[in-house]
Symmetry: C2
Subunit: 421 residues, 2 copies
């Protein structure tokens, strides 16, 4: 269990040196890291080819191999990701609040780096560069623990990033890869109290659950999204159809895609027939009896209509499947969402101001939308630059996470000899 101890100590020392660096110095080092990746393309692609070959001969599915695979264009994307981070405002040294106490003490609350972060992730090599850049910009050291299937790619990328940081006058030791390939590494990271300040799992449900169950250090939980759209009779039905189609079809495998549609009984007749036509050949509907009946003769368009089961309400399909349920009121929609949702992204489509307010206040979720697609919950869309993930917890950070999620605060108190009475 002591595979990583030296790395922990080195990351902590590096973070102490990185913390006071100003934005210009951090950006210069990150630019040099991007340049080093550009320079080292051949080595990175060769390492990636070894990973891909091993994965293929080991029988990995092509869809997963595609996530692992790098080519020149994807390396351009990785470089562009680092440049996005460089363009972000420095999150450190911001004065968040300040006031003077009755005894003359001046209290300032400023933002400082969280410290040492760790990320445990699956096969995509771009996560390696994105997270290294985000952490560096936030003045944090980072320990990267990728999947063993991407080990060669990650070794090449991290070597390149570290050499670039050094070229740019930066602190190369602030970035480290856990590369022993030992499974115990994860447990060692999750119990590294005093060494690692926060761990982010990025990947499937099983990874996230394992991390949450075993961590003795703070975790930011990400990912699961059982998202809903609720439609009222006052909604613009043409727009409603397009919003639902967008939230279901544009990228169904992501966490902010819609999974269940809730329809007010009085909106069924206006919505279901055009929706069935719009989704025919593209998605399957799993309906309760009333919403199924409301499709009526529009069913001739060839839409696949199945009967919804209880388990459909709690399923994140991540597929071309939409569950549909009839409700009697906005309150019933809110209750359904708060029971079955994962507190990610929820939308109401309505022209009724009172319902919109009731929904905004009543739904417990990171992002609550009025008259828009749930697909906008995303760090880049929100303007945060490259993304650490979307937090589905309420503690420390919630929703799309930018650089601020890797900061904490410090109080600076200035006096002239004050003592406590």
């Amino acid at each position: 269990m002591d595979v990583l101890q030296d790395l922990f100590a080195s990351l902590k020392r590096a973070q102490t040196r990185l913390a006071p660096e100003n934005a210009a110095a951090k950006n210069k080092a990150l630019s040099a890291a991007a340049a080093a990746i550009d320079r080292d393309r051949a080595a990175i692609l060769a390492a990636n080819a070894r990973d891909v070959e091993k994965a293929r001969s080991g029988g990995m599915k092509e869809s997963l191999i595609d996530r692992l695979f790098l080519d020149n264009q994807r390396i351009n994307g990785i470089i562009e990701g680092i440049e996005t981070v460089i363009r972000q405002e420095d999150p450190i040294g911001k004065l968040r609040a300040g006031w003077t106490l009755p005894n003359g003490l001046f209290v300032e609350q400023i933002s400082v780096p969280m410290g040492v972060a760790a990320i445990i992730y699956e096969s995509r090599p771009n996560v390696t560069a994105d997270c290294a850049a985000l952490a560096y910009k936030a003045g944090c050291s980072i320990l990267l623990r990728g999947s063993s299937s991407a080990l060669e790619s990650n070794k090449a990328l991290v070597a390149s990033i570290k050499s670039g940081l050094a070229d740019g006058g930066g602190i190369a030791d602030a970035v480290a890869l856990a590369d022993s390939g030992n499974r115990d590494e994860i447990d060692e990271i999750l119990t590294a109290r005093g060494w690692i300040d926060v761990v982010l799992p990025r990947g499937g449900k099983d990874l996230i659950r394992r991390v949450v169950q075993n961590a003795r250090i703070p975790v930011i939980e990400t990912g699961e999204g059982n998202c809903h759209i609720y439609v009222e009779p006052s909604a613009d039905m043409d727009k409603a159809v397009e919003i639902i189609a967008n939230a279901k079809l544009q990228k169904p495998g992501v966490c902010n895609a819609v999974e269940t549609l809730l329809i007010h009984r009085d909106a069924l007749a206006a919505l279901m027939p055009p929706l069935a036509v719009r989704l025919a050949g593209k998605a399957e509907l799993r309906c309760d009896a009333e919403s199924k009946a409301a499709v009526g003769t529009a069913a001739e368009c060839g839409i696949v209509l199945k009967d919804a089961a209880e388990e459909d309400w709690e399923t994140e399909f991540l597929d071309y499947i939409l569950a549909v349920k009839t409700v009697d009121s906005c309150g019933e929609a809110i209750a359904h969402i708060n029971r079955y949702g994962t507190r990610h992204s929820e939308a109401i489509l309505t022209n009724d101001l009172q319902s919109a307010e009731q929904f905004r206040m009543g739904v417990d979720a990171a992002c609550v939308y009025v008259n828009a697609s749930t697909r906008f919950t995303d760090g880049s869309v929100f303007g945060f630059g490259a993304e650490l993930g979307i937090s589905t917890q309420k503690f420390h950070t919630r929703g799309p996470m930018g650089l601020e999620a890797l900061t904490t605060i410090k109080y600076l108190v200035s006096g002239s000899g004050q003592v406590r009475e």
Copy 2:
């Protein structure tokens, strides 16, 4: 392990009803709770007398019995604590940020209640009322799990608070006491994922460690304070002596009292003799060789001078004992603090601007002071009203915790039919 399940569900339902309450409604209910405690004094004092009698016959130390003991004056203090919370600004529904995306979506980040909080604490009954009031004001339900030695007192207080909340038109079920007396209660709270959003341990080191080790829900760690004062030659030595005396003597048993004094070699001659005179008969010094020698003839004042051992640097004495160490530079002082400190409250006494800045930036702690006593780290002093505790962690909240520590954020996104390209 299902002792508390009904209580969890009831607290969660109550929180859903409490969340949208406005400040006037919450304050009215809290005023009625304060009035109910005033009305029920006799019953509360009688219950407390039973606890005290049981504790005394069980052989509890008088200092601990004093923490448990209530009289009319202490009940006045409890009522005043609730009134302080009423006077605090409502932390809910604050617009923290807002911006418009290029596609016209309007994004608002607002503060919302964290949800259901739990507090696990030791014998002081005033914590029961303080935490119930703070949670209620923050729109959170709270589960109170006090020590079994205070069970009768807590039952009477909670009954009174709940009846008051109901009298004031509030939501009595938002406050609950875990009163089975069963030790498994704590484990059940610490693993209540999906029911409890945050748990705060308030008490001694052992309690806090047990909670941190066993919790599968977010914890806010509080308490330990191995605090330092570092003195430079440019400091005003008269003020330095008074600041050190204040930080050591005014209330040595608290977490923001100073434990180790670091003195620049060039300040030894000016500081040690008057400091020894000031602390003689009041505190014991545990010095390294140089600082001991620097006391010189002033030792005739009768100050107790012992030799410091390595373990003194890492000890939170909570007593009339001060460790003293000589350093060569501000950098050495910072390194010592970052190695041995608990990231609570740290002070530099200097007139050198460069050192002050180096110390403020270099020391990793919740509160960093220039030319003032460490004793000011306190929610009330900082202006936050009654205190949930002082967070010594960096995640979610740091330093003195007011109502804001029980809040999280929600993004409200308003559109007019936007879909993602």
